[in-house]
């Protein structure tokens, strides 16, 4: 049966091209793979191959023709001895009709806006994190993280920990202390210093049905593994149409420690929070560290769990409960107040809380919200608070551009514009690489004083 050969699209963006040269003539027999013609695109000259065997019946577009639209019939091919005049005549006047290809996909109808969420804003979840009257015990963030991993490894054999110095050294920051003795080398695995490789390997293990916990000694080194975290872990569920994803935890110290210089002092909260497919947690207290890490290990998605070296040794009250978890997407009101909302997370909370205490001495009652998880983000609690206080200050250690604070400012101005009595101020790290000198480092970080000053500005007091 005679068929038309159509002007091919030879690149993702090609709409038309020049038929530079025919390498066959009417009556020639061709095999699949034979070069039929040379076609010039805006980028290059390409060879155009036959996809079927047959005889060239008629050539419909002469060589040298410019501006031949994709899908225009350029020749007719058929079997030997076949009369191709019918197909040829129908194609003879076709070159002007660019959309001649009956198989061309239909133009998509104008896409109606598909809403991701129902219109009604969710109400804040104010349920207590643990039942009233539960006994608590004082422990460090370090102990809380260690307990969380031990409990989850006890609960599920598919959970394992891998990273640099996590096993025999007992953890560079001693978060994994005792885990090797308790769970053995099958489940607590020292890696070579090879972040890109072991992160990819852990993603593969998650595809294979395990629940890896990857410890980065610090998140600075995870930049070596960024491709595997974003491209492989975060996107696969979507790219596979829901068939398979990477349920796993990436955890470790994030942000500035003290005097360790520019390459070891970066807060990645906003980077990871930008990525659909990842969940991101950044706890401040030991209770949140424990409850959120247990949730992270059980979560069916890849979770970024951002810890802080300075907080590892701080002590907080943790409930004595058999199985204590904190859900993602539920902020904590760390201090109630009515004059201004201070929103923070991670180590930023230490500045926020200290500032709130000092402001109270001057009669300014700040409501302090600890976000705890950055994706999903509990915007309902923030908006609810701003509707009460009419003012917001955000506090974080990361750089200003694209920060969590700037995002919150945009969300609040969209959702609660009429309630705002002052512009939102975001206290962030300074827009510079971290310096080494003690005085400059102090200047580069945000501080309690900066938070107090910001609150005075938005409250005009």
């Amino acid at each position: 049966m005679a068929t038309e050969i159509l002007m091919p699209a030879l690149s993702p963006t090609m709409e038309e091209g020049t038929l530079a040269k025919w390498l066959v003539k009417e009556g020639d027999t061709v095999n699949a793979g034979d070069i039929l013609a040379e076609i010039e695109t805006d980028k290059a000259t390409m060879e155009f191959e036959a996809v079927d065997e047959g005889v060239i019946g008629r050539i419909l577009v002469e060589e040298g023709t410019e501006g031949v639209k994709v899908n225009t019939p350029i020749a007719v091919i058929g079997e030997a001895g076949e009369d191709m005049s019918a197909a040829a005549s129908s194609g003879a006047d076709a070159p002007s009709s660019a959309d001649a290809g009956a198989d061309a996909p239909k133009e998509a109808p104008a896409a109606p806006k598909v809403a991701a969420q129902p219109a009604a804003p969710p109400r804040p979840d104010r349920s207590p994190d643990w039942p009233e009257g539960t006994e608590t015990v004082t422990m460090t963030v370090r102990e809380a993280l260690n307990q969380a991993m031990a409990e989850e490894m006890e609960r599920d054999d598919s959970v394992f920990l891998m990273g640099e110095e996590v096993a025999e050294y007992q953890g560079a920051y001693k978060i994994s202390q005792g885990l090797l003795d308790r769970f053995g080398p099958r489940r607590v695995i020292d890696t070579p210093i090879t972040e890109h490789g072991f992160t990819g390997l852990a993603v593969g293990a998650a595809f294979g049905g395990l629940r890896p916990i990857v410890e980065f000694m610090t998140f600075n080194f995870a930049m070596q593994a960024m491709d595997q975290i974003i491209n492989s872990a975060a996107k696969t569920l979507y790219m596979s149409g829901g068939q398979m994803g990477a349920p796993m935890v990436f955890r470790g110290a994030n942000g500035a420690a003290a005097r360790v210089g520019a390459q070891h002092s970066q807060d990645y909260a906003a980077w990871y929070a930008q990525v659909p497919g990842l969940k991101v947690a950044m706890p401040y207290t030991a209770a949140d560290a424990k409850g959120l890490l247990k949730s992270a290990i059980r979560d069916p998605n890849p979770v970024i769990f951002l810890e802080n070296e300075i907080l590892y040794g701080r002590s907080f009250e943790v409930p004595k409960l058999e199985d204590f978890t904190i859900p993602f997407g539920k902020a904590r009101i760390a201090r109630a107040g009515s004059d201004v909302t201070i929103v923070s997370f991670g180590i930023g909370m230490s500045y926020a809380m200290e500032a709130a205490g000092k402001l109270a001495e001057d009669g300014i009652e700040a409501e302090v919200i600890d976000l705890r998880s950055l994706r999903p983000l509990d915007t309902a609690t923030v908006i609810d608070s701003v509707q009460k206080t009419n003012r917001m200050v955000t506090v974080e250690e990361g750089w200003p551009m694209g920060s969590i604070g700037y995002s919150l400012a945009a969300i609040v101005s969209r959702e609660a514009f009429d309630w705002l009595d002052a512009p939102v101020i975001s206290c962030t790290g300074k827009d510079v690489p971290m310096p080494y000198a003690a005085n400059l480092e102090k200047l580069a970080l945000t501080s309690t004083d900066e938070v107090i000053e910001a609150v005075r500005k938005v409250t005009y007091r």
Binding site: L6, A104, L201, Y238, S240
Partner: protein, 336 residues
């Protein structure tokens, strides 16, 4: 092109030979059709064809058992067909339709099948190599004897994460066969312009990994080498490297004018070393099949490919609310 070391060919049944012919032909005809649909604008973006390399996946699949895993790069259509994925689902993914393996959301480079133990389809050169080692890690952790095939090209072989993976795979005795499909060109850069250490399989020695080079245009040689590699892994001896010397007839992607090699070079390979012609000749010369038998197979394959193409055109585009699904495995609100 001659491999430095080729495992001895075993005896092969007429039935196996016929199956290899059929499986390779399916890949070739499927890819030709994909090229055609691309030319018609039905397939968009990137589309990397496997034509010329068919003996690699067909030979290695013949060495695999049920439950063995595979992961590869973006030149993945052949791997999917060879492990038994439905040509309709693959073609419909190429056209970005609802009936595709990823519901149209993945495209040519991103397809997966849990059922067939195919773990992608990865678009970043070399990223699938540690993932393959991780799949092998999961089997070793679970205590079964499954093996993972991690396919990558001569281009990826120079990636740092491949070296990192060799080190860990041997350190932990992971049951992974690293399959380097050396088609001699990393996009437009020939092997000799990319490295002074062109025998990629020999690099395993630096990590204590055994390996060999094999003629990738000879499906029986690939199968024999694959069986040896799989036996090594299943016996708990750790990873194995197979450098399979092959050749791609088409450009790197559809939009590659392939000016970095001569037309004669390509034609010579097609005329003298074509892996499908090779098996066809064996079938005919050995009186294992007649011209009519092979014509019947050609017809059968043509029908399968045409049906796949039809399906890929008729399957609707994904519903618009698919934009918002499969981002998380549970219910998580998105910013909107």
């Amino acid at each position: 092109m001659a491999a430095r070391k080729t495992t001895r060919k075993p005896n092969v049944s007429a039935e196996d030979l016929t199956r290899f012919y059929r499986d390779m032909l399916l890949i070739r005809r499927f890819e030709e059709k994909a090229g055609q649909l691309y030319g018609m604008g039905l397939i968009g973006g990137f589309c990397h064809l496997y034509i010329g390399q068919e003996a690699v996946v067909v030979g290695l699949e013949a060495a695999a058992d049920e439950g063995d895993k595979r992961v590869t790069s973006y030149r993945d259509h052949g791997h999917m067909l060879a492990c038994g994925m439905d040509p309709k689902g693959v073609m419909a993914e190429l056209t970005g339709r609802e009936g595709g393996y990823s519901k149209g959301k993945g495209g040519s480079m991103h397809m997966f099948s849990k059922e067939k133990h195919f773990y992608g389809g990865h678009g970043i050169v070399g990223a699938q190599v540690p993932i393959g080692a991780g799949l092998a890690f999961s089997d070793k952790y679970k205590g079964n004897d499954r093996v993972t095939f991690a396919y990558f090209g001569d281009g990826a072989a120079n990636q740092g994460q491949v070296a990192e993976t060799y080190n860990m795979a041997e350190l932990w005795d992971l049951p992974v066969v690293f399959v380097i499909e050396n088609n001699q060109y990393a996009m437009g850069t020939s092997v000799k312009r990319a490295t002074k250490s062109p025998d990629f399989w020999e690099r395993g020695a630096a990590y204590g990994i055994e390996g060999e080079a094999v003629d990738g245009m000879d499906v029986l040689a690939v199968k024999a080498a694959g069986e040896k590699a799989v036996a090594h892994c299943r016996a708990g001896k750790g990873p194995y490297i197979l450098e399979v010397m092959t050749y791609r007839y088409r450009g790197h992607s559809m939009s590659d004018p392939a000016k970095y090699r001569t037309r004669e070079e390509v034609q010579k390979m097609r005329d003298e070393r074509d892996p499908i012609d090779h098996v066809r000749t064996m079938l005919l010369d050995g009186d294992h099949a007649s011209e009519e038998d092979l014509k019947a197979i050609d017809k059968e394959i043509k029908d399968i490919v045409n049906a796949a193409a039809e399906f890929s055109k008729e399957s609707p585009e994904p519903a618009l609310d698919e934009l918002w699904t499969d981002i998380y495995a549970d219910d998580v609100p998105q910013e909107a």
